[in-house]
Amino acid sequence: MRIARLTKLAAAATALASLLLTGCSDGGGDRDTDGKVTLRFQSLAWQKESVDANKELVDEWNAAHPDVRVEYVQGSWDSVHDQLLTSFEGGEAPDIIHDASDDLADFAYGGYLADLSELLPARLKNDIPRRSWRTTTFGKGVYGVPFLQEPRVLIANEKILRASGVRIPTPEKPWTWPEFRRITKELSAGDGKRFGVAWPLKDPVSATLNLGLSAGGQLFHRDADGKVRVRFTEGDAVVPRTIHDQVDADRSASAATLGMGGSDTLPGFFGGKYAMVPLGFSYRQQIVQQAPEDFEWKVLPAPAGAGGPAQGVSPQTLSVAEDSPYKKEAVEFIDFFLQPDNMARLAKGDWMLPTGAAALKDPGLRAEKDGWATGTALAEHLVPAPAQSVRGYPEWKDKVATPAYQEFYSGAIDVEELEKRLVEDGNLVLARYQR
């Protein structure tokens, strides 16, 4: 009797397992259904306004194009590279891929992304400036449409700034790097109670390299033989030396924030511990949300040098998977998605700048409120981050540059040792990728 019950139990368990294995299967995908096309669009938008803008645009497209339906899929910045790599390898990647230009090189060279150069409409090609297209051009192909970008700006405590009487920089006349160093000394209140600046340098490499362009730094040089080599010029030393001297000589920059991310510095900034914080333009949203009600703040351009206010950026991009059978339709969707009005909506949702010249004319992006006008004025100076298309850059960054810059900023090594590591050790790494 009991054995019979056991047999029934086993049968029930088997049935349940079979049910789960068959019944839970979705069977969906990118296939034609009744002659209609379904494109999967993986978006990395994460802030509410941005997600809403993305979903609204997808809905608008679907309403106007019943035969080419776009399915919105939410991705995550946190793990996008691994997730995409696995999907590409398995032939299951989304048709339209939201990512950043500094993540595209391996995918483009690996043949996972479609070359869009022949598919893009003239309107989009002409609307986005050539310098932005360079961020997604690898070899002769264009592997993504750059559409949102952000400069690094100085966000300042306006009360402290006003009380000090220092010159307020503008995009037309930013501080020079020596002037910036002098002013941070003036804004410091000695004895560590207040620092003129707090550098959040959890990722010191991209911040240093991108700002270094303004001082004429380049670090990566393509030689006549076509190979890229690291050279450390006087221009490359300006930004690291300024930060180093602020932290270790002047004590006008907090040593404690060197290992922090941007968000971690905000409580100290709101509390008056730091007069200025160099942050990405989109951090303004967090400041609006979290700052005390009576807190006055101002967006200032980053310091400039021999290279003017130039800065390196890695824009957010939209790409099409090489495996997608509907590349033409995917590019049509991208063209719709990035119409000037839509691009401006997306930019406002993410608190970033659009790359498109027409979208940049949106009055909302030129308002003084929340520093939009300052950022928009800097847009024409944003150029590709120096190293993003260099093969071997991720390894150079992780194994050589990050520890070297961290040790330099904390005062453990001098500039000669920094140069030696970046150049000698760095070129050994790059050489392996360029045989």
């Binding site: 995550s76 100290g268 979290q290 700052a291």
Partner: protein, 279 residues
């Protein structure tokens, strides 16, 4: 004198234990505190343990922005199914490995231990390709299968310990009384193994409930995503996060596994210790 030393030593032990407990509990307590704080308190230079202006807005925002209930249901389906199937497969295997000790069972035990050493990233692409050929990508069934395979070695190891803890003599006595092999298994061994089976199932449940990477890679349709994957939607680039709603959602996501763990912790400890007893 000895008594006094013993008391002070005991006090020291309790203090050390308390410090350790505080250390362990700190992240969770901070998570709860953050979940109830308004944005301005999150940006305060002098944060407080107890929110000064507690709010439920973070919970509201979390539910408004992400399909938390749907994701929780998916997680529940995947975790419950994986736990059930893992136990159904592991129990007879564990019995054989514990009772019939030969070269094969020793090899199987070795393989179980070795299989624990494989990192996710090593297996994910081959696994993805296998599941793709089986048409199990983007389905909870595929994910459940992966969770079963992933939790099986440890579940097996736990259950072997439980089986070994059941004295041989009881089965022999049943046999002497004329019970068949199956009758002995059903009437004698199974009831004694029940606590171990429950503990193992709950371990498999918690493992699957918390798992992130497989779910991220294998599921594409938004309505199928599990809770850990949905939680990452509160994270932006460069480590920026929507802290309040993230903390609120993470707190809710932690509750089921926390409750389950509180209920079974004694049994899990028992299961692990059973593995240490020489049969």
């Amino acid at each position: 004198m000895t008594l006094r030393t013993s008391r002070s030593a005991r006090t020291g032990q309790y203090l050390a234990l308390l410090a350790y407990l505080v250390f362990l509990a700190f992240p969770f307590l901070w998570l709860i505190s953050t979940a109830f704080k308004p944005p301005r308190e999150l940006g305060s230079l002098h944060p407080t343990w107890i929110p000064e202006n507690p709010t439920l807005d973070n919970f509201r925002q979390a539910f408004d922005e992400q399909p938390l209930l749907e994701a929780a249901l998916n997680s529940l389906t995947a975790a419950l199914s994986a736990a059930l199937i893992a136990v159904v497969i592991a129990t007879p295997m564990a019995y054989v490995m514990a009772r019939h000790r030969n070269k094969l069972s020793a090899a199987a035990t070795g393989w179980v231990v070795v299989s624990q050493a494989f990192p996710f990233v090593l297996v994910i692409i081959p696994l993805f390709l296998i599941l793709k050929n089986l048409h199990l990508i983007n389905s909870l069934a595929g994910l459940i299968m992966v969770y079963v395979v992933w939790s099986l070695p440890f579940a097996l190891w736990m259950l072997v310990g439980y089986v070994r803890a059941v004295p041989h003599e009881l089965e022999e006595a049943a046999a002497v009384d004329g019970a068949s092999r199956l009758r002995t298994l059903v009437s004698v061994t199974a009831p004694l193994l029940a606590p171990g089976i429950v503990a193992t199932a709950l371990f498999a449940f918690i493992t699957a409930w918390n798992e992130f990477f497989f779910a991220l890679v294998l599921l594409k349709t938004p309505s199928m995503q599990t809770l850990p994957v949905v939680l990452t939607h509160f994270l932006g680039a460069e480590g920026v996060a929507d802290l309040g709603p993230l903390a609120a959602a993470a707190f809710l996501a932690t509750l089921p596994s926390l409750v389950v763990f509180v209920l079974i912790q004694k049994r899990i400890t028992g299961g692990m210790m059973a593995g240490a007893v020489k049969a």
